[in-house]
């Protein structure tokens, strides 16, 4: 670190935790708005900066890195997903990128379970019918959903979040946990989850959960082919990234009763256009990407991003660096 204080550009109004870590040691320039920084402004402001503190709404590609200049030393994204960052470009330029795993795991797992229950038990449909006057007297056959008791749950990507979700689902009487991914995980033994290939997971699961990171290889993983292999009573829940899902194929699968229902906390784009067909379906529950939306998680994400950046600027290891 040279004599002058390093310059950090922060792309949004963020919880103060991260700024409090950086402020004593850095010169901070910030887009102090609740709305994302316009791209032209980002390109203008990043020029000459030593570090970038960004969010998942900021696309960090070659053009932005070029605009920054060779003195850009590191990036910290206030998210665990990094599909918005061109990692190839960053590696080529020797720019390490910090991210925020673990600190948002509990909040995201919590929301995933809430979304799963609301979708599988048709609670949104039901609460809406209450508000719209469709609530009659108790009827044994009205508004029946699907229970977890005795079910098979398939977790696509048994990472930190996938494991945290599975732990929370276990006491609901889940009979079998299956998971798919690149390789088996030791942690799976904690809940007795079985490693299977993707197709086996799809054809055997009553609940299919998208918990894996989005990569170039798994874009559109959940497509017509995948939905056709799922059970007709299956509930599909995605809280990872919208890009995992072919949304046109999902719409068809729901409308044709190939699967029972879907719960999505993430879509592409975000938000969905107002005329998106998925928004018309009673058996598709869509949330506005609130997986990590607790004050505790967001504060911790900001703090970790600040620490990631400051550590590297001081010549230390980043606490959480993307490999």
């Amino acid at each position: 670190m040279s004599n002058r204080r390093p310059k950090v550009y922060v792309t949004r109004r963020v919880p103060p935790d991260g700024l409090e870590i950086l402020r004593p040691h850095c010169e901070i320039t910030q887009w102090d708005s609740e709305k994302p920084v316009p791209r032209a402004e980002l390109i203008r402001q990043i020029a000459g900066k030593d570090a970038l503190f960004c969010l998942l709404t900021d696309k960090i590609d070659g053009e932005v890195l070029n605009a920054a200049g060779p003195q850009l030393k590191c990036i910290g994204t206030m998210s665990v997903g990094y599909d918005h960052i061109d990692m190839t470009e960053c590696r080529e330029r020797n720019i390490p990128v910090g991210f925020t795993p673990d600190v948002l795991t509990n909040a995201t797992a919590e929301l995933t379970v809430g979304l799963l229950l609301a979708t599988s038990r048709r609670l949104i449909e039901a609460s809406q019918s209450v508000r719209e006057g469709g609530w009659g007297t108790w009827d044994p056959c009205w508004m029946l959903g699907h229970g977890l008791d005795g079910s098979t749950v398939g977790v696509v990507g048994l990472g930190r979040i996938g494991m945290a979700v599975a732990r929370r689902l276990a006491p609901f009487g889940v009979k079998r946990f299956l998971y798919s991914g690149h390789s088996p995980k030791n942690e799976a033994n904690e809940i007795g989850a079985e490693f299977v290939d993707f197709d086996d997971l799809l054809s055997n699961s009553d609940f299919v959960l998208g918990c894996c990171a989005l990569t170039k290889e798994n874009q559109g993983l959940f497509d017509k082919d995948a939905f056709s292999k799922m059970k007709s009573n299956a509930i599909f829940v995605n809280t990872s990234r919208g890009g995992l899902v072919n949304q046109t194929d999902l719409y068809q699968a729901l409308v044709n009763h190939q699967i029972a229902a879907a719960g999505l906390d993430v879509t592409s784009p975000e938000p969905l256009p107002t005329d998106s067909p998925l928004l018309t379906l009673k058996n598709c529950v869509i949330l506005p990407h609130i997986g990590s939306a607790t004050e505790m998680a967001r504060g911790a994400m900001s703090a970790l991003t600040g620490r990631n950046i400051l550590s590297f600027l001081r010549g230390e290891e980043m606490p959480c660096r993307i490999k």
């Binding site: 056959c141 029946l144 229970g147």
Partner: protein
């Protein structure tokens, strides 16, 4: 049919037993009905709507067993109309507050319900309500509908969550216990409960506290008690005012336990932060009821047991209850 031996003659006496008649107050599912039809004469109110009282009064005359649901009030009038040969009232529900149990017992009529099966599904719904209220799920859905979701924002729709929170359970029965088991892996700091007395099976998962401590210490308070003279209207403004302003009230027991006017006021003036109700009094709530338009109140139309598997199990269990009594 009886076979008698009279000396070297065998006499066959055919005795016609009056057939046991069972009346079912709703279309409850084929498996349960088939079980009963095997042995008894079965009549059903085959409609999606509950049976009107006058119709039920006429229909029950001479029956041995009554198979009813939570929407049927089985009082002395019904029991009288049925006649002295009525042996059992079996309700397809976790509770039997819809049945005058005391009057049944006075008349030597068995009363049966289905608490165990319903408990798991009801605990699921309770946790669903906890998550829906503490993570602003309904607000999230509404925001999309109202075009208020522009992009991911760090401060938008943040909920309180469950990490390090204190969960309180009023009534540590099957549902209360089920909630405690399910909520443990969510990282809650502690689980408190209050009941008529300390409960043995609560030992490893929840801590017994006084009623006042339960209400004043809980971040999320779940009402899971049965209905009786003690609990009717128990959750009123006095108890609500003991709660934290950031707290959430969840009710999956019966609507009558919570004073609805007091709850509406407590939500309106910020005495508590939110409520999630799977049960109300009455059900449904009349159009225009203040709780229906209170944005901090999530109301579900009594979904406690709404899976096909649970309903089938409840109806089959009710049929088996009847079989057990009549045989």
């Amino acid at each position: 049919m009886r076979v008698l031996s009279l000396g070297s003659y065998r006499v066959v006496e055919i005795v016609t037993m009056p057939e046991n008649r069972v009346y079912i107050t709703r279309q409850v599912g084929n498996e349960a009905i088939a079980l009963l039809k095997q042995k008894y004469k079965v009549e059903i109110w085959d409609s999606e709507e509950p049976i009107p009282k006058e119709t039920l009064l006429t229909a029950v005359g001479g029956i041995s067993a009554l198979f009813c649901t939570v929407s049927d009030i089985i009082d002395a009038g019904i029991l009288e109309a049925a006649g002295p040969q009525l042996k059992v009232v079996a309700t397809m529900s976790a509770g039997w507050d819809n049945v005058d149990v005391a009057e049944c017992r006075r008349r030597g009529i068995e009363v049966c319900k289905t608490p165990d099966i319903a408990a798991d599904a009801a605990a699921d719904i309770a946790v669903a309500l906890i998550l829906m209220t503490s993570r602003n799920i309904v607000q999230g859905i509404d925001a999309i509908r109202q075009n208020l979701f522009h992009c991911w924002k760090p401060f938008w729709l943040c909920g309180s969550g469950l990490i390090n929170k204190t969960i309180g359970i009023l009534g540590f029965g099957r549902v209360g216990f089920g909630i405690a088991r399910r909520i443990k892996p969510f990282g809650v700091e502690r689980i408190l409960y209050n009941d008529l007395e300390e409960i043995e099976y609560a030992e490893n998962c929840a801590q017994y506290v006084s009623l006042d401590t339960l209400f004043s210490s809980s971040d999320i308070l779940c009402i899971c008690c049965g209905v009786n003279s003690l609990t009717k209207g128990m959750v009123n403004s006095k108890l609500l005012q003991r709660m934290k302003r950031t707290s959430i009230l969840i009710n999956t027991s019966r609507g009558v336990v919570v004073n609805h006017d007091d709850l509406a006021e407590a939500l309106s003036d910020g005495t508590i932060a939110a409520a999630g109700l799977d049960v109300t009094d009455p059900e449904p709530l009349p159009v225009g009821h203040p709780l229906l338009t209170q944005p901090k109140c999530v109301i579900l139309p009594h979904m406690g047991t709404n899976t096909a598997e649970t309903r089938v199990a409840m109806s089959v269990n009710t049929a088996k209850n009847i079989l057990a009594v009549l045989n």
